[in-house]
Amino acid sequence: MGDMAEQAIILEFSLQGQDFIRAGEASTEIKQRLKKLGFRPDVVRRVAIVAYEAEMNVIIHARKGSLRIEITPRRILIRTLDEGPGITDIEQAMQEGYSTASDMIRELGFGAGMGLPNIRRFADEFKLQSRVGEGTLLEATIHAD
């Protein structure tokens, strides 16, 4: 019983840049899992929103990438890693309404520049690392207690 708290469920999803048909599948699956696990509705909601925004960022901006989620009873860690253009100015990217998404993507209803600000708003811990021309690593943690 002692190590029960260390129990973890890890899920990995591979993401394809510009694949708007399957976009949102990973975060929907994550949301359903968390409900099945009995997490509080507000925790489920925050994780679902953070996972969705992180997933969409990869699909909108990168060539390809992955979303990994580690679920433990007390905290949920979401990590996306992508191969893509990277972020030139992280400070600027964190501002509401700032986006480098193309007109085509905006016409699809994405790229409103709320992704990163929303992730920071709903996550308890947030980390963003990027190398221009190589890719981006995003880590967000949500505390469940």
Partner: protein, 449 residues
């Protein structure tokens, strides 16, 4: 018994144990056990989809018997808009109301008037900034329960006002008690229901306040007599004590009715329970933040599509639209038709719906995680046919039932077949093993052939 009231019941005699209902249940609340459907009471929302899906008429709605009328001194009928759509044009609401009086009710109060009162209050709350979107309509009780069990995070988004039927009952009783000078409990208020979910909302309300309705009669039960009476209806309805509904109120029986009545710009209308689920999934993810109001109907076509109606929902809808047009010719405002409302200083009863999540694998997150991991492993072994022959709606549900100790792997007929096959191979191979004492005899026998 688990202590949950349900209006949707199983007729064991008629149930053949097929998989039609388990596959159509929006909350996966049915399993087939021992050849009969079993409803998981805590998950069932009484939407009535299983009744629609059953080819053997093995599900029915438990409504009140008309004998209940004898228990009250004064009896009021609450006809919903959908009732008006059940009769041939040019039957007017007034004629239907008159027929209800001939039927044996002392007076009638239209649910459509309740709808107008709720709509006016909703509009006011939005205008005064006391209510902010996204708000989900509280009118459809199946949707309210769906949110409680499947979207518990959204219960706080449900319109905090009692639904039109309850407001109609509340008003009818208050006004009549005043008028007649008799205690409210001597007045019986009866709803003529087009669906199962309304019955449940009356018998087991979830909004934190009791129901103001004393009984629910199925439209199907009153229809034959009512349609006979309608043939002979003559003259005006007297006494004209209660206000009559406008087209706006009557339109509440079909999708878009609330939109027309409340008049918010960013208003989403969705009908049919699977469509409602899709939209709630989106709302849960915050994807619909521009929308102020969600008008949601579990039945396709709205209340005229309810399972206790007699006439096809599409036909009833057209009839209702004709009535709405007719009533909208020279509309009087609610205040003009219903001056008592202002005199009463009427407050629409407030409701508060609590979440009741039912989707989880275990009450404890640690336990649920262990079960999810175990279910995952089982699911890998299952065939993925989602055939339902095991009694669960799909392979995933079976895997989850197994880890919860409610089913076994061999309930899957494909796994059972595989196990029998491997057992057969084992038996065959064993038959070929020859003990030293017998090996000679077998060889001789082979030689004889």
């Amino acid at each position: 018994m688990t202590g949950y009231f349900h209006s949707v019941r199983l007729d064991r005699e008629n149930c053949k144990g097929c998989v039609n209902c388990i596959k159509r249940c929006p909350t996966e609340a049915i399993r087939v056990r021992h050849g009969k459907a079993e409803i998981i009471e805590e998950k069932c929302i009484d939407c009535g989809e299983c009744i629609r899906a059953c080819p053997n008429k093995a599900k029915y709605v438990e409504t009140d018997s008309l004998d209940l009328l004898h228990s009250y001194e004064y009896k009021i009928a609450l006809p919903p808009p959908s009732l008006y759509g059940q009769f041939r044009a040019p039957t007017t609401p007034d004629q239907v109301l008159k027929a209800l009086v001939d039927f044996g009710f002392d007076d009638v109060f239209e649910v459509a008037v309740g709808a107008e009162v709720v709509a006016a209050e909703t509009k006011r709350l939005f205008q005064e900034g006391k209510l902010r979107g996204p708000v989900i309509s509280s009118a459809c009780p199946a949707v309210v329960r769906l949110i409680q069990v499947r979207f518990p995070g959204l219960t706080s988004r449900i319109l905090p006002l009692a639904p039109p039927s309850e407001v109609a009952a509340h008003l009818a009783r208050q006004l009549k008690a005043r008028e007649l000078g008799i205690p409210e409990e001597k007045i019986g208020v009866f709803y003529l229901t087009p669906c199962s979910a309304k019955v449940t909302s009356i018998k087991a309300p979830v909004g934190g306040i009791p129901s103001f309705i004393d009984g629910a009669f199925s439209i199907q039960h009153v229809y034959p007599q009512l349609s006979q009476l309608l043939k002979q209806v003559e003259g005006e309805l007297e006494p004209r004590r209660y206000p009559r509904a406008s087209g706006v109120g009557v339109r509440f029986g079909i999708p878009g009715g609330e939109q027309a009545a409340v008049g918010l710009e960013n208003h989403l209308v969705v009908d049919g329970i699977t469509n409602v689920i899709d939209v709630l999934e989106e709302l849960e993810m915050d994807h619909l933040d521009g929308i102020d109001y969600f008008e949601t109907w579990a039945c396709s076509g709205g209340c005229v599509g309810g399972i206790l109606n007699v006439i096809n929902g599409h036909v009833a809808r057209v009839r209702l639209e004709m009535i709405v047009r007719e009533l909208s010719r020279a509309p009087l405002s609610l205040a003009e038709r219903f001056p008592e409302l202002a005199q009463l200083n009427y407050q629409v009863p407030r409701i508060h719906v609590e979440p009741r999540p039912m989707d989880y694998l275990d009450v404890d997150i640690n336990g649920a995680m262990a079960k999810m991991t175990a279910a995952e492993r089982i699911l890998e072994k299952l065939p993925g046919l989602d055939c339902g022959a095991c009694g669960a709606p799909n392979c995933k549900a079976l895997a989850e039932d197994i880890v919860q100790g409610k089913a076994e792997e061999t309930n899957c007929i494909i796994i059972l077949r595989e196990q029998i096959r491997s057992l057969g191979i084992k038996v065959y191979n064993l038959a070929g093993v020859k003990p030293f004492t017998l090996s000679n005899r077998d060889a001789e026998k082979e030689g004889e052939k």
